[in-house]
Symmetry: D2
């Protein structure tokens, strides 16, 4: 499963350089992960009491600028999962299919009461294992960019 989140770049997302600020792209990626989770059919609130998900690592490359009014697509797929963490591949494409940003984001299960990492609930592991996109994941972006 690779989900797509459609975005229009808005005025307040630009910085004085006239393009989308580097930190705003990280918000775009979060929007994409929420959409991925919604499409997975999983509901964090139902999975386990007080269970949540937080970000542990972000590694993102900025490939091109994006400007006000551009229509972007955030693509999100699950790369791998461990005992308590899981890793997404994500990229952001512009209207010409060019990669604007690509990234890997590690999330970790989190006990929202104890405020510390927690193992993935069994239901989530099973569903994750179905949804992982195997193979050379960055090529998903590369393929689209070639079209």
């Amino acid at each position: 499963m690779v989900t797509e989140t459609a975005i229009v770049v808005r005025s307040t997302e630009l910085d004085p350089n006239g393009h989308v600020n580097n930190a705003k792209f990280l918000e775009y990626l979060e929007w994409g992960r929420f959409d991925w989770f919604a499409d997975s059919g999983l509901d964090l609130n139902q999975l386990a009491p007080k269970y949540g998900v937080v970000v542990a690592n972000v590694n993102m490359n900025y490939r091109r600028e994006a400007r006000r009014g551009e229509r972007l697509r955030v693509r999100t797929w699950l790369v791998a999962r461990g005992e308590s963490s899981f890793r997404y591949g994500q990229d952001i494409l512009n209207e010409r299919g060019e990669v604007v940003v690509d990234a890997e984001v590690v999330n970790v299960g989190f006990d929202m009461v104890e405020r510390r990492s927690a193992p993935l609930p069994e239901e989530l592991r099973r569903r994750f294992d179905e949804l992982i996109v195997p193979g050379k994941l960055r090529q998903v972006g590369a393929t689209a960019a070639r079209r």
Copy 2:
């Protein structure tokens, strides 16, 4: 040179989890890099006409939560420079000296008219070479956390 930027976590920087959102930390890091540049004595606007700096890569780890009212310090140092890019080490410490976030950020010189990467101006290279912090840079954070 390692610069410090003092921050108080503000209400609008929190997300529904009640802690600083992952993308907001990336804004904090940008604030730190601006302070580093100011302390370096370099003025981008004077260095070369239409010369700017943009972010090429961010690799950041989230180690601890931060909450409203916490006083954080963003530390910023230059790790290395190439022909057109340069790399910062950064971390964010809380009041107990614990590492909240650590990161490496690659910036690249940018021609603001042609909108593409540009070689570092000579004056900037010279000053950068004076300012690079050699050695095991992440230990700067580790040391503080042990105090």
Copy 3:
């Protein structure tokens, strides 16, 4: 002319109360005014050298909460114009046609070099006078809410 800007409420636009933060709605309104300007056929960059527009006053009412995933519409219309300023009516409706926010926003022409207010260029006055929505403007929102 009343323009509509379609918005999906995103995760990073929520605050710890779990709803869209009060300041974020003001960004939504700015997005609506940019769309209004685009639909007007006017191009600020062409009108006059170094001419821009800044906000002078905002008066906004918060009527209902908005939550992640809600689809909102920002409606924007011109209420009046003076020698150097002009006034928009705006509201934000949810999927049930309920008013979430309504507002009046005064903009003022601005000399981006001298950094002070500047009279409206003649071309802009003429176009504005064609576009003003006369009458009881808040009822535009009220009507929609009744549908």
Copy 4:
């Protein structure tokens, strides 16, 4: 009681006009109201179960620009209170004592479970009545600007 919140304008708070975006000032005002509440000795979480405060109306004037690195002060005082709502006066001053923004903000008590307005708890009414700043409140700003 008039509280002051010290702010340094940060890079990501600017828009393509090179000054603080109009919506960001509304975040600054929220930061000021949180500081006012902290100084009042009141703790919303202790006052009443599931009781919160939300914004009902904002009326703000933009008087001057603010730029990166400027040190601003957000001043906040309570103007009046009703049965379920209360009204703040706020302004933002720059280093020269000039008013950058002034505003009135109406808050309303809110039942966070029922998601609707709720009367002010008795303890909060009593404390508010002690803290109201009587008289011509906008002159607080005007006086400072004259110094």
